[in-house]
Amino acid sequence: MTQLSEPELKALMLSSLDGNEKAYRCLLNVLRLLLASYYGRRLGRSHAADVDDLVQETLLALHQRRITYDRTRPFTAWFYTIARHKLVDHHRRGGGRSMVGLEAIEDMADDYTEDAISAPADLERLLAALPQWQSEMIRQMRLEGQSVADTAASSGRSEAMVKVSIHRGIKAMAAKLRGERGEDG
């Protein structure tokens, strides 16, 4: 996946606002991937069609409303605010089941808007701090989506052991992240 950071994305946006089609195509293609991972993480694998719809709706919204981007402010903040707005709207249209989801979105919002782009790097760093066998399990199950049985077989440990290890590993990562953010996260 292409990893572009705020300055690069902002440069692409500014040049798109000046009418540069090549920059705009490049920007939309990068944003499409960012959106697919943003919505994918929040809706889960089982909602691939919804994720696709949301990606398209959001690209269209940012195209139609690009006049509201303030050239002096960060691009990713503007972009993820629109993405979050579309997600909230999606949950609202989905009806009652959304309330928990909505609160969770509000909680996550502050963490994710500015940091979303560096999230993969953060994840790698946190995983690297765990023992190798444990980070490997989390990678297989949570990132690659393998089953407990497969993970247990490939690591040579029992299924119960795999579940407990992953649970503890994620707790340790969360604790480390909280510590880095000064106990307020």
Binding site: V55, H63, H85, D89
Partner: protein, 214 residues
Amino acid sequence: MAKTDDLIDRLVGELKPVPRGALGRMLSLAILPGFVVSAVLLFLAHGFRPDVAQALYQPAFWAKGIYPLALAITGLVAMMVVARPGGVPKMSGLTSLGIYLLLVGLGLWQLHVAASADYPRMIFGRSAWFCPFIITATALPVFAGNIWFLRRAAPTAPRLAGFVAGMSAGAVGAWIYSWGCIENGLTFVALWYTLGIVLMGVIGTLCGRRFLSW
């Protein structure tokens, strides 16, 4: 995924440059027709105050015009904030409150120096019962322009955006009406002008979800 490719092709094909300050220009463009319509309607239906030549020498006449004008300018600044994703115009809210309190202070001082026999005239005047409604009516064309503008912008809080659209349109309407209004009491302005503006704000809030969701 192929649909996303098509969409990107289409959007790139539709790309037109967005010059600096385009949002502000769009807001002026949105407000202007409503402003002209309201001013003409007020002139035809109500007329300018007959004693305008004498009124020019009264500080109350100026205070009455400056109050809604200051609110209208603050309101337009708030419109620019609320039009952007995640925008919450806190500063404009505080500024508006400050402007209102200043007017209340001046009004109380005006009552303090006036004879108590004048109180009914300065507080209720002759037009208290219809003043708020004229202001709301004068505000409606401007409000329509505000909504047109916000529908092309990206307000992420539709009710708040509707409220700001209503309040700022109300303030513009009150300013236009102040050219025709014959009252001189500042407490009158603080009560009935403000009521008209807030009424427009309430209408805007109620319209927000319906017109400003996207």
